[in-house]
Amino acid sequence: VAGAAVVAAVEEDVAAEQPGITVNKLGPPDWLQRLPRLGVGLGFRRPLARPIVEHAAEIDFLEIISEHYLGFSRFDKRELRELRRRFPLVAHGLSLSPGTLDPPDHTYLGDVGELVKTASTPWWSDHLAMTRAGRIDIGHLAPVPLTGEMLGIVCRNINQAKDRIKCPFAVENIAHTLQVPGAEMGEAEFLSQVLEQTDSGLLLDLMNLHANARNHCYDAYEFLESIPLDRVVQIHIIGGHYARGVLVDSHSRPTPEEVWQMLEFVARRVDIKAVLLEWDEQFPEFSVIIDQLSRARAILAGARLRTEVSFAVA
């Protein structure tokens, strides 16, 4: 208790001296603090396989799409083994669909659980979305209704998944152009409740947040101030494009300045375990990708240095 009082006093002094830095008084859960710091990584996409291997020294980790390795063909097993040999891996899924009324598919959870063990991922992630409703397969991530009833369903589904897959889990915020009518709460509050009620980490996709803020006219920083940033495990960065006046999260352009600034904002406040560049389409020269990774690394390093200096001064 005495130790906690000292820490609290130091935190208040730091906040007073450095008003630009917000020190989170609650702190992340213990399991999150124990997660390894992976650094700055890249989403593994097969067209990039060769340059990824050639530039392995400049890539700290890879994020694999879980669905690409379910079913485990001989080729998949070999590829996974090679990737695991060269890089730390995290698994990122597309099909959990916690916003679906039916519980998560039992076979799917079993396959993802096996993948997570085989790939030795320190955490796995999926999206706060629905990809199917009943027997209707939407084919991609759709927003969930922001109601109390849906909150209960989402939390139930995530908790079932976590009970089955014994590995820390992070949930990602999605981009959406359609706002589902009948909302009983805002997106920040819904997300915060999901994180707290399921004790999950947050995979904070800053491009998705930027796109939503632009398309639905709200302040992205107000959103960031309203969610438990101490639950951030991983960050996604990338750029999109405008189509018919709408900012689309196409994962096909360099990270825009607004997203870099948000990364700095978050990095100054929490110890981010991993930042991932999620390039999916229209791949550039690999040097462009390396430059993006370098910039992310510099932001993380700068934020950590500032935090260490602040505490040293205090």
């Binding site: 669905e67 379910l70 079913g71 099909s95 916003g99 679906t100 009324l101 799917y108 629905m130 199917r132 409703a133 009943g134 027997r135 209707i136 397969d137 939407i138 084919g139 991609h140 759709a142 209704p145 109601t147 009833e149 849906m150 369903i153 959406h176 152009t177 359609l178 706002q179 589902v180 009518p181 009948g182 018919r244 709408v246 689309v248 389409e281």
Partner: protein, 196 residues
């Protein structure tokens, strides 16, 4: 409206072009016809719905393009329009939905453009993808297509034009090639394509 009704209504509007057209034409009539609350249905932004539905088709097209690059190349600038025509009449489902889409799209191209080079290439891609997967439609809903793993071996011999051979060998367009015989084989322990 309860979450179940909201989820299913939205999912149908996202993927079913006929239902979406009905909704966009007259939202109140749509609500009354299907028994949904007027207030909820009226509050769905039609432009946002159209944009999202169209983005789902674009994502489908991008994934299919990756699976059948030769057919996409043969269709060239016509790929997007051809896929839009096809997408209106199909809803892929399941973990292999992109493969289901690609298989069904190849069939669509062979039917729509029979005797054309694009149809020939689509036939090749259909045979290639079909070594491991077969497509099925859902009982009671022919719009829904799935790709299932094949359990039986595949042995197929087919003759193709010299133009396809040139494409396979990466030769420039217009360079004539010999008519070619292609063996598509998938048996336990051995899967591949050979041509002469």
């Amino acid at each position: 409206m309860r979450s179940l009704e909201i989820d299913e209504l939205l999912a149908r509007l996202y993927v079913d072009p006929r239902m979406r057209s009905e909704f966009l034409a007259d939202r109140l009539s749509f609500a009354r016809r299907y028994g949904y609350e007027d207030e909820f249905v009226s509050a769905i932004d039609p432009e946002a719905l159209k944009f999202f539905a169209e983005s789902l088709v674009r994502k489908r097209a991008n994934e299919v393009r990756k699976l059948i690059p030769l057919t996409a190349s043969a269709l060239a600038d016509d790929f997007e329009a051809a896929f839009d025509r096809f997408a209106d009449g199909s809803i892929p489902s399941g973990y292999n939905r992109h493969a289901a889409d690609a298989l069904a799209f190849c069939r669509h191209v062979t039917a729509e453009r029979s005797r054309s080079f694009a149809a020939e290439v689509a036939t090749f891609d259909l045979s290639r993808l079909g070594l491991k997967l077969r497509s099925v439609t859902e009982a009671g809903n022919p719009l829904v297509i799935r790709a299932l793993k094949r359990k039986l071996p595949v042995i197929r011999l087919a003759r193709f034009s010299g133009t396809l051979r040139a494409l396979l060998e990466g030769k420039p367009a217009g360079v004539p090639g010999r008519r070619t015989l292609i063996l598509f084989l998938s048996i336990p322990g051995l899967t591949g394509i050979w041509y002469w």
